[in-house]
């Protein structure tokens, strides 16, 4: 079967700094991948390269077999199929929650306002946000804002969802409500690549965990193997620091 996402030999530099040094990764449909690693290891950059928000320097990215890094590909069309949720939510502050969610379906998919709002309302209801539909984002708590951001991405019915440390900017008591949403998506079969510092969550939800170090995937495997008996000393070192910090 064609993988939902295939990354081959991906390189990315910011000026002199090489952030990604050859990433190879295949993600099957309905698979949930957790990217773990220290800050600066390249997790966020990798996610941003997958939907080409960051232009890449070398390598190939394929979505369900379609190469999106090829010349002449309409990037906007590809991006519709990939949802991304950011650490800082990045909601549009000048529009209501409902408009945030319906903007892309209306303008990109050319759906009528009525249809788009009906679907958006259903999604908002599903995630307990129905009564916030008319509010501006800054009236919402961080957890609510992040859930709206997830709903906004889901409204495009993406084949693949990328989550970039979506709980890192949240107060601790708001983390759970966002993680619950992601759990629900995983049980619904959504294909996801999740960069996270929540190790417990990664262990529970991921089918496979990738440990990034210095712009490479140093080690990957099922969560019980990575967390219980990592092969690489660097992975062990990283996980020990996490345990010392009380995060696992």
């Amino acid at each position: 079967m064609t993988p939902a996402l295939s990354i081959q030999g991906l390189h990315k530099s910011f000026g002199q700094l090489e952030v990604l040094r050859g990433i190879d990764l295949e993600v099957a449909e309905h698979e949930v991948i957790a990217l773990i690693g220290a800050s600066g290891s390249g997790k966020s950059t990798l996610l941003r390269c997958i939907n080409l928000i960051e232009p890449i320097d070398a390598g190939r990215v394929l979505i369900e077999g379609d190469e999106i890094t090829a010349k002449g590909v309409d990037v906007d069309r590809i991006r519709r199929r990939i949802g991304i949720v950011f650490q800082a939510f990045n909601l549009f502050p000048h529009m209501s929650v409902l408009d945030n969610v319906t903007l892309a379906p209306r303008k990109v998919l050319r759906r009528s306002r009525r249809d788009a709002e009906r679907d958006a309302t259903a999604l908002l209801e599903r995630f307990g946000l129905a009564e916030k539909a008319r509010d501006l984002p800054d009236r919402l708590s961080g957890g609510q804002q992040q859930r709206v951001a997830i709903v906004r991405a889901l409204a495009m019915k993406p084949d693949l969802l990328l989550l970039d440390e979506v709980t890192s900017a949240l107060d601790p008591e708001l983390v759970a409500e966002v993680l619950d949403v992601i759990r629900e998506l995983a049980s619904g079969g959504m294909t996801m690549v999740i960069a996270t510092h929540e190790m417990g969550f990664a262990r529970d939800i991921a089918n496979r965990v990738c440990f990034l170090d210095g712009g490479r995937i140093l080690e990957q495997g099922p969560p019980h193997q990575i967390f219980a008996e990592p092969r690489e000393p660097r992975t062990r070192q990283f996980l020990n620091r996490i345990i010392e910090a009380g995060r696992l």
């Binding site: 991006r79 549009f92 892309a104």
Partner: protein
């Protein structure tokens, strides 16, 4: 137990931080003593200036030729009636400037190598029109366009005046817009593009609406300038307030009509300037007070920026 309820509401509560709105001439938070000092020093300074002026050797002649009451009351209604020509110029030009300036700003902000010629042209336009004194442009176009005698081009001075003011001010206004566009964080663009919106859609639905809200106060500042610069078109024969003033001055051999005109501009411009200051102060207060206050205010109000 009833003592709790009997306490005055303010007891124990911290007074809300005072937000200065608009100018208070630096006297806002100070006590009565400084008010007295300010009053005394103001009277002293202005008194001294008045004393020097009134005792100047030319004062009687100055009074006669600049402050003639009879000429003033004769001139005031006449200049006011011509001021409506300026108001029309201003209102029409302002509408056009808002649109054309935004267009220029957007053209300069469209990324990508394909659009380089567009950016280049817009940049040259803005550079040229900001570099030239307005009077030169008004002369060059106001006298030059009709001299070409091209069929279909406007020869009416009023129309040319509007075109010229629009050309000049759009260059300034586009820079204000552009500053606003560039102040919108790139994460907004990233979010919009990741949803599949094109570059143009991202500008139109995400970046520009936020940018415009932010730049309303500086835009108003530019329009205060435009309001005054409408008098420049008197050079190409539009009979507006300034031209009328010159005519009255020549007819009376007296400069008092200029005073009447000055008064008209003071009455119209100062409130607009104060309103602009008030908007800026409010925007700043919002960004200090935090988003919840800002959004509460924004619900009812059109003009509100979010920092």
């Amino acid at each position: 137990m009833d003592s709790d309820g009997a306490l005055p509401a303010s007891t124990g509560s911290i007074p809300p931080p005072r937000v200065t709105r608009g100018p208070r001439f630096g006297l806002g938070a100070e006590g009565g003593r400084s008010l007295v000092v300010a009053a005394v020093s103001t009277v002293a300074v202005f008194g001294l200036i008045a004393l020097v002026v009134v005792n100047a050797p030319g004062w009687p002649r100055f009074q006669e030729s600049f402050l003639n009451a009879e000429v003033f009351w004769d001139a005031l209604p006449k200049v006011v009636s011509k001021f409506f020509v300026n108001v029309r110029l201003f209102l029409i030009a302002e509408g056009l400037i808002l649109v054309f300036g935004l267009l220029l700003a957007v053209l300069r902000s469209v990324p990508g190598p394909v659009f380089f010629p567009v950016r280049l042209m817009a940049t040259i336009y803005v550079d040229v029109f900001r570099a030239l004194p307005g009077v030169l442009v008004i002369f060059a176009l106001g006298l030059g366009i009709p001299a070409l005698r091209i069929e279909g081009l406007p020869s009416d001075e009023f129309l040319i005046a509007i075109v010229v003011l629009t050309l000049i001010y759009s260059a300034y206004v586009s820079e204000v817009y552009r500053a606003g566009i560039e102040s919108i964080h790139s994460s907004q663009t990233a979010a919009a593009r990741s949803l599949g919106l094109s570059q143009v859609q991202t500008l139109r639905f995400v970046v520009v609406p936020q940018a415009v809200r932010r730049v309303i106060p500086p835009l108003l500042n530019d329009f205060i300038g435009l309001q005054k610069d409408t008098v420049l078109v008197s050079y190409i024969g539009v009979v507006e307030i300034f031209r009328e003033t010159q005519i009255l001055q020549a007819a009376n051999f007296n400069f008092t009509p200029y005073m009447a005109t000055a008064l008209v501009f003071l009455v119209v411009t100062i409130p607009l300037a104060r309103f602009t200051d008030w908007l800026i102060a409010r925007q700043r207060a919002q960004s200090i007070a935090g988003p919840s206050v800002a959004s509460r205010r924004r619900r009812g109000l059109l003009f509100a920026g979010r920092a």
